[in-house]
């Protein structure tokens, strides 16, 4: 049965960056509306079943309140912990249940959690978070079409998906965590509210991609060079404590700019370990203080080309157009319309 999975994070878009910066309050009802349109898109493509991560708000069940779709929609059977563990677990289970695509609604942090759950099921990350570099902002109706085409294998995989890079966080030489976009060494001892905004506490910054139009910590690298998503190289920056080096100003959070002093810039090639000199410290992954480096522990960061498979929505839709999947008399109707007409 052609299956798509939806992992909508009810907690995304609500952290302290609404206070320290100017992030939007992303309410869950908006996620419901996004999922509703996503389901309508999926239903047009041959997807037969949708499985979803359960959550306390009931994002997907609420999305079904006002639409009828010819889809079998089922919750993934799992305990709800109300933490990022839910996303990781749901992604793992979705792979075992044969999902052909994983549609993730959240920010960079949610995308990272999904990638911790599976590297093999193509991920389509849609933005509902704060600093969104990995997920895309796109109308979910169209995203649903693209996700459905991938799930139903209606187009060659190489035309629709690409493998992303990631950063492996090493603790005593063993992989301990990952980051999809950036990892920042943070000279504080407490995770607390998780977000990173005090750049005086960031002496080292690593990233898998860099773009001048990006937001978040990787935007700093984006003002120095460009690294495309999936390109097998990353960027390591050493920041000076105060003045010195090259001053770089970038938008590190919505409505928030920081000027840092870049002392050194190195290309990260896959497999090379960049040692974290600070100890104790924290390592923030994709903008969230997450990994605790205790005194005496040896931490490092390494670029890997073995990241998650990512759906390229634009490429998928272009290929669908070229294949005339939505052109001509036989292609304009979905199963739902056929059923109603029969």
């Amino acid at each position: 049965m052609t299956t798509a999975a939806i992992l909508a994070n009810p907690a995304s878009g609500k952290d302290i960056r609404r206070l320290v910066a100017h992030g939007s309050v992303f309410d869950n009802q908006e996620k419901v509306r996004m999922v509703r349109r996503l389901l309508l898109g999926l239903a047009r493509t041959g997807v037969e079943r949708v499985i979803y991560m359960p959550d306390a708000y009931g994002i997907v069940p609420r999305a079904l309140n006002s639409i009828e779709v010819p889809l079998l929609v089922e919750a993934i059977e799992m305990p709800v912990a109300n933490s990022q563990e839910d996303t990781i677990r749901a992604a793992e289970i979705a792979e075992t249940l044969g999902a052909g695509v994983l549609v993730v609604l959240g920010g960079d942090g949610t995308s990272r959690a999904a990638a911790k759950g599976t590297r093999e099921v193509p991920i389509m990350a849609l933005s509902t978070g704060t600093n969104n570099v990995f997920p895309v902002m796109i109308e979910t109706t169209v995203a649903g079409l693209a996700a459905g085409l991938v799930a139903a294998n209606r187009l060659p995989r190489e035309a629709t998906c690409r493998r992303a890079c990631l950063l492996e966080i090493l603790m005593n030489d063993e992989p301990a965590d990952i980051a999809l976009v950036d990892a920042a060494v943070y000279t504080d001892l407490f995770v607390a509210s998780r977000a990173v905004w005090d750049m005086d506490k960031v002496p080292r910054l690593f990233m898998t991609r860099a773009a001048p139009e990006a937001i978040g910590l990787s935007a700093i690298g984006g003002q120095l060079t460009s690294i495309l998503p999936g390109e097998p190289r990353g960027l390591a920056l050493t920041l000076a404590a105060h003045n010195g080096g090259t001053p770089v100003t970038a938008a590190i959070a919505p409505g928030m700019f920081a000027t840092v002093h870049v002392q050194d810039m190195e290309t990260m090639l896959p497999g090379r370990v960049f040692a974290v000199e600070e100890s104790p410290c924290l390592i923030a992954v994709d903008g969230e203080r997450e990994v605790i480096v205790r005194r005496g522990q040896r931490a490092g960061v390494r670029l890997s080309t073995d990241g998650p498979l990512v759906v390229d929505i634009r490429a998928t839709m272009a290929r669908a157009r070229d294949a005339r999947l939505f052109t001509g008399p036989a292609n304009g109707k979905n199963n739902h319309e056929k059923r109603r007409g029969s």
Binding site: P10, L19, S24, D27, Q29, F190
Partner: protein, 319 residues
Amino acid sequence: MSLSKEKMVAMFKTMNRIRLFETKLQEFFAAGRIPGFVHLYIGEEAVATGACASLTDTDSITSTHRGHGHLIAKGGNLKLMMAEIFGKSSGYCKGKGGSMHIADFDLGILGANGIVGGGGPLAVGAGLAAKYRKTKDVTVCFFGDGASNQGTTQEALNLASAWKLPVVFVNENNGYGISCPQCKSMAVTDIADRAAAYDMPGVVVDGNDVLAVYEAVNEAVKRARKGEGPSLIECKTYRWRGHFEGDACTYRCDEELKEWIAKDPIPRFEEKLVENGVLKADGVARIKAELAAELDEAIAFAEKSPLPEPSALLDDVYA
């Protein structure tokens, strides 16, 4: 996060002071030694402590029926609190108000409040006064998930934003309004979502992580002092005891309680402090012993204080 070691130790003490105070009241109520109802704050200590850590004596708080933790975190006098709860004439309200009416204007404690949702309008009033007087003082309005459904709370949020008042709304979402679970009384799961309707920042934090609460409220207080208006911070937490002492808690299961006890905010903070060298194990023991002695003094003060005289019955009656 710019918190000194001394400040973190003070916060640790406050959390333990609240826990000890409430645990003792639990014993006293069960033994029939105190009159009236008490609504205990056990399990929620991180919220009051983290929120009040950014406030000065001239800043204000409005509290709730579950107010002991707020009052202690804002510097309330344990002797006067205990005496009031014992109904003694030496108490904060001369023994006539009890648990839900304790106030100390000198410390900016504008009162516990027996009315669910009663604190919001008071906080807006205090915020308006501060703005009018140009004092830069901030008011923290504590309110529960049940109160967030009251019109008074929504009116307060609206007016605070419309008038850009220095008020920080700290929601303690413990999942239940008396015995009614949030899912049966509310169309949303995150009360912070409602901030968008009032054009103010809305943030969700782990209410059992005192540093997470501190960081969020500290930023909100800074905004308020700069004249940037109110904020809404939702702290997800849980009360270990019933709505009131004596509540059989038939509306929730033991597993749920156990899950939250495993997230006890006090050992969580203690572990972090010890791990990072802020406190040593013997320091923790010493603090707990000091707090126990402090509480014993408050209890002794309350016990030996006299009850109000019958002749004082009509004193302080204003209407």
